[in-house]
């Protein structure tokens, strides 16, 4: 089954209607993969072999994603992947103290005492690996599957595949973002573009949706004004039948209007108790320490919970930079301190509200770092894409579970290896989307998040 934009617009009543319909048609969608909606503005795809793929119909284990993006390359050996010294000769490994936690007995660094209390919710992936130690490229690959070109971001693919749960809000929100290419819908219809709130370096407490409010007119007058605009627009439209664009503008003017009332409330934390704000450490991050920049990660986590409750499909949070080269111990501690309690509070709240089961929380960055040798005075690390750590929580994943491992020095994934494309496949699978079949026809071929090689779903991770 394939819909044209025109059909969608005709049969729905708001700018996000295409997505709503897509979601409604999800059964057909899955049975008739993929590239379901052909946007007439893009190259109309011919019916290709991939359309007829007989993919499995995995049932979704998650409805939404919260991606805690730790930009810069978190040091796996001093956070979650414990590598004590073995043998007589000192070798690279963990240089901070670790302890076992929870019923699962998972090892967690002493730098993350709050997260450590939640290990029994975590599904740890120690076998991550990527292709390059270049930040920009690996960061882009983590988000889009591609290192060198602007391609649709993971959140855009999910929004494209599933639509939004809330017609008053975008399906993909990116907090404290860096460059647009990491939340771009690229060639996917731009309604799947991430909506940025706060640009990296900006004061997150002031961050908001662009142009969300103005005080030049009271709301009632704005409504009257919009009614008059729409009266003009309908008059204009009547003389110009058969123009879908004009119709979709009329509809998106209404959605925009609704966002004015729905979004600011979500961004305004004044209805949260002081106790909650404290648990999340909202606004309490110490000023930047070395590479660790103040990202008000507590506010980001709390906003993420609120967006999740409101039905936003994909929420990305950003904290950086974990790229501590020269002051490894000090800067790593600062990065951990800035994110530890907020993440714990988020996991707590999601669980308390029964949201954790249906929300896939993901923690990780573009690569890891090689370990330091303890007796060596060196306090500097580099980049290591050959083995590093991610974790999942909720979303139907096993909990208190460790998957994969690195070698004794922790610099190479040797078991349970998961490449970014496998990570992407696994996330799409959790969302009920057929990982290697969700595709979009662009410039003469089907494109997919998992790239030409395709990704392997890590089925072992699912509970």
């Amino acid at each position: 089954m394939r819909f044209s934009r025109r059909q969608l617009l005709q049969s729905t009543s708001c700018g996000f209607g295409s997505l709503a319909l897509q979601a409604l048609c999800r059964q057909q969608v899955l049975a008739n993969q993929p590239a379901l909606i052909s946007d007439t503005a893009s190259a109309a795809p011919p019916a290709t072999k991939s359309q007829a793929s007989q993919g499995s119909h995995p049932s979704a284990t998650a409805k939404r994603v919260i991606f805690l993006c730790m930009s810069g390359g978190p040091a796996q050996l001093d956070t979650f992947d414990y590598k004590p010294q073995t043998g007589n000769k000192p070798h690279p490994g963990s240089v901070v103290n670790f302890a076992q936690h929870g019923e699962s007995g998972m090892w967690v660094s002493d730098l993350l005492p709050e997260t450590a209390k939640h290990v029994d919710k975590l599904c740890m992936l120690h076998g991550m690996h990527a292709d390059t130690g270049i930040h920009a490229q690996s960061f882009l690959q983590l988000h889009t599957g591609e290192r060198l070109r602007v391609r649709p971001s993971l959140g855009s693919w999910i929004s494209y595949g599933l639509g939004s749960e809330n017609e008053n809000l975008p399906g993909f929100i990116s907090l404290n973002t860096s460059k647009t290419s990491v939340y771009s819908s690229a060639f996917l219809p731009s309604i799947h573009n991430g909506t940025p709130i706060g640009v990296n370096g900006e004061d997150m407490s002031a961050a908001t949706l662009a142009n969300i409010a103005s005080d030049h007119l009271p709301l009632a007058a704005k409504r009257q004004q919009l009614d008059f605009v729409q009266q003009l627009n309908r008059g204009h439209r009547t003389q110009r039948p058969i123009d879908d664009n004009l119709e979709s503008v009329i509809q998106s003017m209404e959605l925009g209007f609704r966002m004015q009332t729905s979004a600011p409330g979500l961004l305004d934390l004044s209805d949260e108790t002081q106790a909650t704000l404290d648990r999340y450490r909202v606004g309490q991050q110490a000023k930047s320490v070395g590479t660790c920049k103040d990202s008000d990660f507590g506010r980001q986590c709390l906003l993420a919970r609120r967006f999740a409750e409101a039905g936003v499909r994909f929420i990305e949070l950003n904290h950086g930079s974990w790229d501590q080269h020269k002051n490894h111990r000090r800067d790593l501690a600062a990065n951990c301190a800035a994110t530890d309690a907020p993440i714990a509070a988020l996991l707590d709240d999601l669980q308390q509200r029964g949201l954790l089961e249906e929300t896939l929380v993901i923690w990780g960055g573009e690569f890891g770092r090689p370990g330091l040798t303890p007796e060596n005075k060196k306090n500097e690390t580099g980049h290591n894409p050959a083995g590093f750590t991610f974790w999942f929580a909720g979303g139907g994943m096993k909990s208190g579970y460790v998957h994969g491992k690195t070698n004794t020095t922790g610099n190479k994934a040797v078991e349970g290896r998961v490449h970014f494309r496998d990570l992407h496949a696994t996330i799409l699978h959790a969302m009920g989307l057929p990982a290697n079949e969700l595709s979009y026809w662009y410039q003469g071929r089907d494109h997919r998040l998992t790239g030409p090689q395709g990704g392997k779903v890590a089925h072992e991770l699912f509970a």
């Binding site: 190259a43 930040h135 142009n211 103005s214 030049h216 003009l232 627009n233 008059g235 004015q260």
Partner: protein, 812 residues
């Protein structure tokens, strides 16, 4: 290439030279040759590729089946072959979907031959043989997914030390026929030919050749064109399309009169007036600035640093001026690619040509720190802007591997790359931040005015140590304050051919490729171009691109012009004319336009003029089709004002528009990391083209309407409708300020509410309101009074309503 390799395997082609096995020191066979199309030679880029293959066939004597012992055979079949089959053949055999690194491992000859990275074995079959290094993950890291086990690596080491015994071609693995090279009779790879007149049923409709080609297709489908648009729509459409500004009400009234008396004459007069307007260059220059990914800052280098380009605006002014002067498009391209190598008539002319080369220096660079591919990243952008921007051909894929769809090989990519690696790119100091980009020289202009910073100018951004964040002193400029400088390129003192970078990695160098151009393009006439060893080859590249019979250059530009006038090109994939692009909806029309463009001296204005004076362009937007397909050209497509035109139109309606040209840029004295500077934009009433286009910090008045980020060449603007556009229209301070100015101006002119409403309609829609609209507006004024305190606010609300309505934002 593949066929040739096969021939080698069949022993039908004897090696003609046994050159050194060091793939890095190939001797160029010929400086550069552009093979003309010869149907008898079905493969491309013959000289270079053949040479590569033959060189790689280094025939290490030890790999031979002459004396293959039973023991060796058994060892191979039990220990080696199964591993090759399981781990290697999927990419390295005749059956591979995509051959990796041009290496096959499934026959003796193929193994002897090696691949892109060179021979697999050292002469003495030592452990440092490439094959062993690769499986030990020392160099190439093969197989890519997972290293082989220690045992297997040991088996392979033994095997190599035995002399890599391999059963010969008498018991080969069954091979299938190799797919031939992608066909190169793709329409866009042949020079356009002036098409004959179309076959038409007699019709009075066509006014010229363009209409003939369009009507021929319509007749084939049993359709007819739409009637001519009404004269108000026509002048509005033409004004926006040609100068990016709406007409004023008086102009519309005058044109309506003239059009009634003599439509053709009225149209010609109007078009010639608009083409002669200085605003033409501001509109069409802006279109080119999209192609040139023009921006006034580098954009995030991946580490959050974004340095300004304080001199980029000179390139903007150069482009606007070029369009206004109707600089022939071929000269325009030559100046941008090789202006520094051209003779100059005067200092001013020399300045202009140096500024033009800014085209190649506007790259959005990734950080230099920890990025050994930095230099090649810049080259990749330069290749991309030239190939995709000018030729409508993506070559970028070939940075890492042979292009999957178009017959562009990795060799050809590095043949082009050599031109740019021989070129010095000058972006300036990069905000004195070496980690983002090492500082470079700049062109120093001679005739341009010295403009020092205004007295008391102090940089507000502290320069900081990038790692510690501590302030550091502002580095002293190497030029006296106010020296006129320009970004651009020049030839390096030492020019050289470039080596293949396997998988795009500077750490994995392959053979040297002589500089040259993609051979897939088949010119009507053949000629050899030679690159002087002391030059980069940019001038030759520019001349090659602007050959009259270049298959792509004229077509791509004619198509872009069409796109800007119709909202979609005859080839809808503006920057993709290769085999993955769309085929033209009107091939003969495209070739007519392309050849005519060249014949008339590559004049953009002449091309625009001929198109807009056609009946095709002048059709109404109304259509009787129920599923309207604009590509048929049986009606004119209704289009939304783009970000720039919308802002300019609001300024026009409010009366605030300042039509003077900008004097430089707000950042001309600010050589800083703008990510540390907060908002740099300042309110302005000048035309949008003169706003400051900073990457990652677009002008806030424009960003809502699908403004690209200009990190790479822009094919076309998106026209998607998004809810944040509605938010912009409701709440953006610019829109609010314009509705205020608009209301103030209207209120000052008359006290009569009907007259005021008429004025608002005339200044926004260039017409009077209908009686319904008048009544509706009156009633809106009445009801708004209940919510709003002052009458000014009520009028402001009405003005805003009109400015954000569809009729204002769309052109018929």
């Amino acid at each position: 290439m593949i066929r040739l390799a096969e021939s080698v395997a069949d022993n039908t082609l004897k090696p003609i030279c046994n050159a050194t096995t060091d793939a890095g020191t190939m001797k160029p066979l010929s400086r550069l040759s552009i093979p003309s199309w010869n149907p008898a030679v079905p493969f491309r880029f013959v000289s270079i590729i053949a040479f590569c293959c033959l060189l790689l066939d280094a025939t290490p004597q030890a790999i031979s089946n002459d004396k293959l012992s039973t023991e060796d055979l058994a060892f191979f079949e039990t220990k080696i072959r199964p591993v090759l089959a399981e781990h290697c053949y999927s990419c390295h055999s005749s059956d591979a979907d995509e051959l990796g690194g041009k290496l096959k491992l499934d026959s003796l000859d193929a193994i002897r031959q090696g691949g892109q990275s060179g021979p697999l074995f050292d002469d003495d079959h030592s452990p440092s043989s490439l094959l062993l290094k690769a499986i030990r993950y020392e160099d190439l890291q093969m197989p890519p997914d997972e290293p082989l086990s220690e045992t297997i690596v040991k088996d392979f080491t033994d095997w190599v030390q035995r002399g890599a015994p391999y059963p010969g071609n008498d018991h080969p693995k069954p091979t299938t026929v190799i797919k031939p090279t992608p066909q190169s009779n793709h329409w866009a790879f042949r020079s356009p030919q002036r098409p004959g007149s179309p076959n038409l049923h007699a019709s009075p409709w066509p006014s010229g050749n363009i209409d003939g080609f369009v009507l021929a297709q319509l007749q084939k489908r049993g359709r007819s064109p739409s009637p001519v648009a009404d004269s108000r729509s026509l002048i509005r459409r033409l004004s926006i399309d040609l100068i990016g500004l709406p007409p004023n009400y008086q102009d519309v009234l005058r044109f309506e009169q003239q059009h009634k008396q003599n439509p053709d004459h009225a149209m010609e007069q109007l078009v010639d007036r608009l083409l002669a307007s200085p605003y033409f260059g501001q509109r069409w220059g802006r279109h080119w600035l999209d192609v040139a990914r023009y921006a006034e800052s580098n954009g995030n280098d991946g580490l959050g640093r974004n340095s300004t380009f304080p001199h980029a605006w000179r390139y903007r002014d150069y482009v606007i001026d070029a369009f206004n002067r109707d600089l022939p498009y071929d000269e325009f391209l030559i100046e941008q690619i090789a202006g520094d190598l051209l003779p100059a008539e005067s200092d001013a002319d020399r300045d202009r040509k140096l500024v033009a080369t800014g085209f190649l220096a506007l790259t959005a660079k990734p950080a230099n720190a920890m990025n050994k591919n930095f230099a090649m990243d810049i080259v990749a952008d330069q290749i991309d802007v030239v190939t995709r921007g000018v030729m409508g051909l993506s070559v970028a894929c070939a940075r890492c591997h042979d292009h999957k769809f178009d017959p562009i090989s990795i060799d050809e990519y590095y043949a082009l790359a050599g031109i740019f690696t021989s070129t010095q790119t000058m972006w300036g100091t990069g905000a004195h931040e070496k980690l983002t980009a090492p500082p470079t020289d700049l062109h120093v202009l001679k005739a341009a005015a010295k403009v020092p910073p205004p007295e008391g100018f102090a940089e507000t951004v502290l320069v900081r140590e990038s790692n510690t964040g501590k302030p550091k002193p502002v580095p002293k400029s190497k030029w006296p304050l106010g020296t006129p400088l320009a970004m651009g390129v020049r030839d390096k003192a030492a020019t050289a051919d470039c080596k293949i970078h396997v998988k795009g990695d500077v750490g994995k160098l392959g053979a040297v490729v002589p500089r040259g151009f993609p051979a897939v393009l088949q010119f009507a006439t053949s000629s050899d171009v030679s690159i002087d060893e002391k030059q980069s080859g940019r001038l030759q590249l520019a001349h090659w691109l602007t050959r009259r019979d270049h298959p792509l250059t004229s077509r791509v530009m004619a198509n872009r012009v069409w796109h800007h006038l119709f909202g979609q090109g005859l080839v809808q994939t503006n920057d993709e004319f290769g085999q993955t692009g769309q085929t033209p909806t009107h091939p003969a029309l495209l070739d007519y336009l392309a050849t005519r463009f060249v014949e008339r001296g590559w004049s953009i204005k002449q091309l625009v003029r001929e198109i807009v004076l056609s009946r095709t362009y002048q059709q109404s937007c109304q259509t009787s089709m129920t599923e309207p397909d604009p590509s048929l050209l049986s009606f004119h497509r209704r289009r939304r004002l783009d970000a720039e035109s919308l802002r300019d139109a609001m300024l026009t309606a409010s009366g605030d528009l300042d039509l003077t040209q900008a004097d430089g840029s707000i950042i001309r004295h600010r050589d800083i990391l703008m990510n540390l500077a907060g908002n740099l934009h300042q309110p302005s009433h000048r035309r949008s083209v003169f706003l400051c286009y900073l990457r990652q910090s677009p002008p806030p008045e424009l960003s809502a309407f699908n403004l690209p980020d200009f990190s790479t060449s822009v094919a076309k603007r998106e026209t998607q409708t998004l809810p944040d556009q509605a938010l912009y229209l409701y709440n953006n301070p610019f829109v609010i300020q314009q509705s205020q100015s608009f209301a103030k101006s209207v209120l000052s002119q008359t006290t009569d509410s009907t007259a005021r409403i008429k004025l608002i309609w005339q200044r926004s829609y260039q017409r009077n309101p209908t009686s319904d609209e008048l009544a509706g507006a009156q009633s809106f004024l009445q009801t708004s009074q209940s919510e709003l305190e002052t009458s000014e606010l009520v009028w402001q609300s009405l003005c805003q309503a009109v400015l954000i309505s569809n009729e204002f934002r769309y052109i018929d």
